[in-house]
């Protein structure tokens, strides 16, 4: 037996949000690994399958509705239905929830019909064609209605369907209210007819006098603002091109902005005879002026224990040097150094370019090294682990 009424309302928003979240789970996978991404992916997939559409069907004496491919369904015998009316009130969200006086089943939009059972219980079913669903439920529930009532219901439903189609062409924000007004006006015209006037011809006359359905769409005009209008293929292509250009620019801009550090290792060595030799670390200070020979301020171990500066611009560590600068090609940093004579000894103040300086922008501190030998080839390098 064919269904008396069957309509599926797509949950476009659920589909879009689920797809965005599924795409985002890919992002989570990149950052947090598979274990973090899989639960999110599965939840989103379930939401997508569950809520991509809501189907309502009237068939063989039952009103039945279900989500998605039929993961959740509910069946109401038509004989239990007292009447059906538009949902009055405001609700928000989608899914299955209790609102005001009954359960709401909805996947999209904020239109619904209220099915009132003879027991007084109410069930709210979301739909994008409330007028047609109300007509169908009421007609099916009151199967004993007179032939005239059925005929009128058929004519009215047909007219309302055509009005709805005309309005949906420009998606007027108040199309639901306009349809309700037209329905109410049709009912009042029907009520004006005397019983002997309730004929097919007069019903057709009423719809003719109500005017062509397309006129309602013309009357309300295109009330949408530009951003509500449909998204054309040209707009989408232009948007993708612009966003791709922005993303590419953002990826390549740092490469242009960063100074070419390869020159650091290629620059000409300017000799500084005072620097060449073996230096032993004696302190680590905030400022050069804070160091006093013989007074060690740093209480912990030194990361850098000693350093040898060779004549060819090389050092015993990962650094290179030229006059006034000590360069770390790996970290791409160039630190200043200062040599001071104090109490008959020579001290080197070496700016320490740690993460506090290079990342957090803090003022550099100084390693203080004392010159222990002018020679560069005596003794062993005590540093086991230089920063690479």
């Amino acid at each position: 037996m064919n269904a008396q009424y069957r309509h599926s309302q797509p949950g476009y928003l659920s589909i879009v949000i689920s797809l965005i979240l599924i795409a985002f789970s890919g992002f989570i996978y990149l950052l947090g690994g598979l274990a973090a991404a899989i639960p999110m992916f599965l939840i989103c997939l379930f939401i997508l399958v569950f809520s991509y559409k809501l189907t309502v069907e009237i068939k063989e004496g039952f009103l039945k509705f279900w989500f998605g491919p039929g993961l959740f369904w509910k069946t109401i015998p038509l004989e239990q239905i007292a009447y059906c009316q538009p949902f009055k009130g405001v609700f928000g969200g989608w899914g299955i929830r209790y609102v005001f006086d009954g359960w709401l089943y909805n996947v999209s939009g904020f239109k619904a019909v209220t099915v009132v059972l003879k027991s007084g219980k109410k069930i709210h079913i979301g739909t994008d064609q409330p007028e047609l669903l109300i007509e169908a439920i009421n007609s099916a529930a009151h199967g004993a209605a007179t032939e005239v009532s059925s005929m009128w219901a058929e004519v009215k439903a047909d007219y309302l369907k055509r009005v709805e189609q005309a309005l949906s062409a420009n998606r007027h924000p108040r199309s639901f209210e306009i349809l309700a007004d037209v329905s109410s006006h049709l009912d009042s015209r029907f009520a004006e007819l005397k019983p002997q006037e309730q004929t097919w011809e007069n019903f057709q006359k009423i719809t003719t006098e109500m005017g062509p359905p397309a006129e309602y769409a013309e009357l309300v005009g295109d009330a949408r603002s530009p951003d509500q209008k449909g998204v054309s293929a040209g707009f989408v292509i232009a948007l993708i091109m612009i966003l791709a250009a922005v993303a590419a620019g953002m990826v390549f801009l740092p490469k242009l902005l960063k100074k070419d550090d390869s020159n650091l290792s290629k620059q000409v060595i300017v000799n500084d005879p005072n620097l060449i030799g073996k230096w032993q670390t004696v302190d680590f200070v905030d400022d050069i002026n804070n160091y006093k020979p013989g007074e060690k301020r740093w209480t912990g171990d030194f990361f850098l224990k000693q350093l040898i500066f060779y004549e060819n611009g090389q050092t015993s560590g990962p650094w290179l040097w030229t006059k006034e600068e000590i360069i770390h090609p790996g970290d791409k940093t160039a630190a200043h150094y200062y040599i001071r004579e104090m109490n008959g000894s020579t001290y080197l103040f070496f700016e320490w370019m740690s993460g506090d300086v290079t990342i957090r922008g803090m003022k550099p501190k100084f390693y203080v090294l004392q010159k222990v030998s002018q020679s560069t080839n005596e003794g062993e390098d005590q540093n086991a682990n230089y920063p690479k």
Partner: protein
């Protein structure tokens, strides 16, 4: 229900911010500077994963709210001015968050740009737009 142009732009910005965050993630230090004082000195830090994912998550929440709220709150949806307000607000906030995220990335790979240069123009645009919107709404209300 259809996705509008403004919503599509915001979703596009969300995709861009996600792509650049994923691209630069391996280059980020373990502890990232994420907040700066008035003079542009960093004074707030976060772990790498949290810092890189924060802005995309905020933008995702904004996008969901901006798409859902006008469709759920039927009272608001029927007030065209409010719908336009939130639509425009979401685009400006999306661009602002994209710029903030990019600034965080640049700083942490060693390109130190004063955050004021990035954030201030966008904040000026945001405030100007809000003031203009309410000025227009007030004129309409007075003319009624």
């Amino acid at each position: 229900m259809r996705i509008t142009r403004n919503e599509l732009v915001c979703i596009g910005i969300l995709i861009v911010i996600s792509i650049i965050s994923a691209y630069f993630y391996p280059q980020m230090p373990q502890r990232m500077a994420t907040h700066w004082d008035f003079w542009g000195n960093p004074n707030g830090y976060m772990q790498r994963l949290g810092a890189i994912i924060l802005m995309p998550l905020i933008l995702l929440a904004f996008n969901i709210a901006a798409i859902v709220v006008p469709r759920v709150a039927s009272v608001w949806a029927n007030i065209e001015a409010l719908r336009k307000f939130f639509s425009g607000l979401n685009i400006i906030l999306s661009v602002l968050l994209l710029m903030v995220q990019y600034h965080i990335i640049l700083w942490n790979i060693g390109i130190k740009i004063n955050p004021g240069f990035i954030a201030m123009p966008m904040i000026v645009v945001l405030l100007s737009w809000i003031i203009y919107f309410f000025y227009k709404a007030n004129r309409k209300a007075n003319s009624l």
